[in-house]
Symmetry: D2
Subunit: 337 residues, 4 copies
Amino acid sequence: MTVRVAVIGCGVMGADHARVIANETPNAVLQLVCDPDKARMQDVADACGALHGLTDAAAVAGRADVDAVLIASPDATHADLALDAIHHRKPSLVEKPLAPSPSDILPLLSKENDLGHRLISVGFMRRYDPSYRAMRLAVSEERIGAPLVFHSVHRNVAVPEWFDGPMAITNSASHDLDIARFLLGVEMVQVSAIATRTQAQHSTCPPVMLTLVSEAGQIVTIEVHVAAQYGYDVRGELVGTTGTVELTEPRHMVTNSALNRSGAYAPDWRPRFAEAYRLQNAAWVAGVIAGQPDPVAASAWDGYVCGKIAETAVAALRSGTCHPVALMDAASIYKAK
Amino acid sequence: MTVRVAVIGCGVMGADHARVIANETPNAVLQLVCDPDKARMQDVADACGALHGLTDAAAVAGRADVDAVLIASPDATHADLALDAIHHRKPSLVEKPLAPSPSDILPLLSKENDLGHRLISVGFMRRYDPSYRAMRLAVSEERIGAPLVFHSVHRNVAVPEWFDGPMAITNSASHDLDIARFLLGVEMVQVSAIATRTQAQHSTCPPVMLTLVSEAGQIVTIEVHVAAQYGYDVRGELVGTTGTVELTEPRHMVTNSALNRSGAYAPDWRPRFAEAYRLQNAAWVAGVIAGQPDPVAASAWDGYVCGKIAETAVAALRSGTCHPVALMDAASIYKAK
Amino acid sequence: MTVRVAVIGCGVMGADHARVIANETPNAVLQLVCDPDKARMQDVADACGALHGLTDAAAVAGRADVDAVLIASPDATHADLALDAIHHRKPSLVEKPLAPSPSDILPLLSKENDLGHRLISVGFMRRYDPSYRAMRLAVSEERIGAPLVFHSVHRNVAVPEWFDGPMAITNSASHDLDIARFLLGVEMVQVSAIATRTQAQHSTCPPVMLTLVSEAGQIVTIEVHVAAQYGYDVRGELVGTTGTVELTEPRHMVTNSALNRSGAYAPDWRPRFAEAYRLQNAAWVAGVIAGQPDPVAASAWDGYVCGKIAETAVAALRSGTCHPVALMDAASIYKAK
Amino acid sequence: MTVRVAVIGCGVMGADHARVIANETPNAVLQLVCDPDKARMQDVADACGALHGLTDAAAVAGRADVDAVLIASPDATHADLALDAIHHRKPSLVEKPLAPSPSDILPLLSKENDLGHRLISVGFMRRYDPSYRAMRLAVSEERIGAPLVFHSVHRNVAVPEWFDGPMAITNSASHDLDIARFLLGVEMVQVSAIATRTQAQHSTCPPVMLTLVSEAGQIVTIEVHVAAQYGYDVRGELVGTTGTVELTEPRHMVTNSALNRSGAYAPDWRPRFAEAYRLQNAAWVAGVIAGQPDPVAASAWDGYVCGKIAETAVAALRSGTCHPVALMDAASIYKAK
């Protein structure tokens, strides 16, 4: 069976997804790409050999020649498009965040629960990164004892002037929040946040430190530094009672030159997580064929929880105090997971 | 277009190729698997969802439902099966060595030359490994000046008792010979070889050192140590006039435990070169669709040259002196490359 | 000139200091060692070739044949012995903490201020570690822009059962507090602290996370994990506006064996900081000869400040809230520094 | 006891030795420095606080106020000065090579043998480098099984125009030859050599590859590349039957900046081997006090052997064939070692 995939959104993320679906995903065909900007849409369609091109996202999910929808449009449109896909009983893979505000995710949870099964996957692709997979395996094989602390560092080269600390939490740190939950297998119950306030950085977004406590009493620290300048750099270490595991940078070459031994950083997340995106999309397509989402994939519930923790972290950053994370009860279909 | 691939040989290599074609190669379908051992064949067919299973390799290339043949049968059968594929005008990807003796490759060269185009690719998959690709790019971008020396280290965990130094050269070091040529872009003109002769290793194959000189006066050193015990480990460094580039081990995780900081070695080549095999097979399938072999792939000529150098190195190991590498003239279709 | 050094205390630290003074410190002679436990004292005296051995610490500083006193006795005795050394106008190098409680340090500050110059150095030896020195130089050479965040990780193999979170802060994290101040060149104004509360670790001291804010608005994070089991491991990264610097583990060898590539961790701090101790003691002796303390060395004031921050961090750990660090005004002799 | 050391030669090496003796060597005093260039001599004397300064090297060893002589004058003068030191029964530490030609070392061997004990140590300081010491310990503790192969890489940034391949062997690779013998504990019996002959490097000294065979049948490879441009870089790996050990670069800091993660190379050998020189000189002084050379130090015999292997390697480089190493029989005092 071949899955006919529609990719909605032809920006940076959408174009990359279209390319991955077209060239690197077994058993998938890039049925159509869609973007209100026709020129941009056509460029991606041509580059990836999409069979069709549309400008109206509302017309996608209902098409008979589309089996599954990959939503990479602007954040504010995610929830409605995912709802539309559910309406047509089409599985969707939605870029994070599932919605700008966690409250906007509630209708999706309710709809899936009514339906009795999950159709939405959220693009927390780190779950497919071989390093995190190896770390998770190390935990389950008890190679580091019981997990105590998870440290995550998330650095981007640069952000626009208007990007601020709260956005760094909701848009960037959400990946770290999800992977912390994925690795530890428990929820977060408390969060505090602090940003640097030095003169040096006036025109850029300051680094933010989040400190979270899990329901099992573990600590998670996240440094999210979106204007780190030196390179795209993601680090993680899981500290257990008897040892630790750390992810490595997937670097293929070292250069000795000009009195330095050096390895390159990517300027953005795409090279770093290229394999994660490829594996995520392949697992998603395999799940579509199998009739149920890949168990590793983040669900709409995961999207809601990460949104809620991020929202709480922003409040904690503003108040300067520690905040409890208040989640609603998970509907039964999410508990089964 | 979808390429219907037949995989001949269901041993370790064939089973892995069948899996890659079935699960990781876009635009390919695993049309059939073939092995004289019916049980083994059926296992691979079932595991990979092959549409058909055969026990007679001679019946494969001629089938109308087969577009391309992947030959991973015993070494001695490679050349005949490749010839059969040429006879039926089917592209083939042949595991190395293309033939146990380089003289057995001459008919293939002659046949392809008569035909006027290449149909055979040889499975020197390192050419697709991201580390070697990055090294090659570094050379073409002149980041290390002009190449002077290439060091290659090739270590396996263990080999059977009957494996000896000459076999280490012909069966293992051939990868290093090909990648040296690929990186430097020139031929080797001279080779010497020496093996350790210590008491310690009586029951295992000793490490062998090859020293080659290229037609451009560069030096290539290869340590091939097939009973290294500690892990599967391949290293490479290209030394240029202004700097060097080294490949790294693609390791996803570091573990801190029991007074050690450590990274795991794979027990064999499959995890180390998993991505190379995947990319090689995808490029091969793309070449079948395009109607001409991927330019990166090793040709029958490359298979002949590596066989010839290896044969010369074995003679040098036996004589203890330096031997010139005597290649026949390349037919025109191989010069075009 | 040769400095005649008396080492007070013949426990683990004292014995090591005696060895360093006797064998690795130019222009120093190990004049005497002192410990109330005569057998232990005699062992160290013999092992290091001390000229004299005493059991009464009160008799040391006043001796005419002692030029300088190295105090490595139990923590509770440090302040009195340092006071005694001041009384006899002898320079002292005092192991940290200078006193168990910062209030006990006030008389020392007052005494030195009355005297008009500093006699006490505190053994925050990390200031002499080549890695931290290189990091500090990188800051002053503006290789990472303006410092924003300092991350410190401090892990020991094990501690006795009665060692708890507050002790981890006062006895272990004090090194991290001092080095953070040394690298950033500013004081800390605020601290919060949190420890894990998992079931897994009941019988060992849990990891503690400190988050501090400097008067310049920078953030310092310290993980102090004294029962990390896997090895003695100290890490540090200084994040600036344009890049970061990280200290490395000073490891001399890598071993490839048994499917692992590994580097050893020391079981305790002595091998890791052997060079720091050697350089610290040499600089201290050079300062004695020069008549004024080495400018890199921590002063009694630094000892007081680190004690005060640690005390505040313990209170923050207990309250679960963020605490301001309330320092007294520095006397003029400490401002000059 | 304090050893009064005279340093002969105030060039780069001599100045460094004078500094180490004056500032970093316990139980030593820099009694005098000597150089025919008076200004240069005075500079070093002043910088290091030497008690005396001389211009006539012949007058040094006989002085009553000199206990031991460190010879760092031009290579051609080493043997005569060492002979003079023997004449006055003074221990000497002689920079390598002990003489430009191994035949010039024969009188020294004969003299020491007549005397019945060794007075000369040769400055093969790598024997004191912590990495090589750790490798040697790993061998004796049988952590890698029986040694089979030793790989050494020796790269300098640059050499003068007139420096050629033979000089790279005699002046630079002699360190690698000595350390190979030190690690393996056996002599070399055979050597071949080859240099690159590419157009790219016309004005610089080409990399030279040496391949040696030990009397135990082990293989030693040495790449000596004195115009490597990118940095001073020394590598070593000892391959045993069950694993390998590799020395690491003693790097204190990593910098993340400008899309690179990098560690610095030193421009020359002094930072890389600073600790080796310090430990060597301290052990030499301790040996002077003890009345017999430190057992780790290279003897005049070691100096002769390394000279002889280098001489043979130069002949092999010229002939393009493999040469046997023909050593004289060691006198009895060298066998005892």
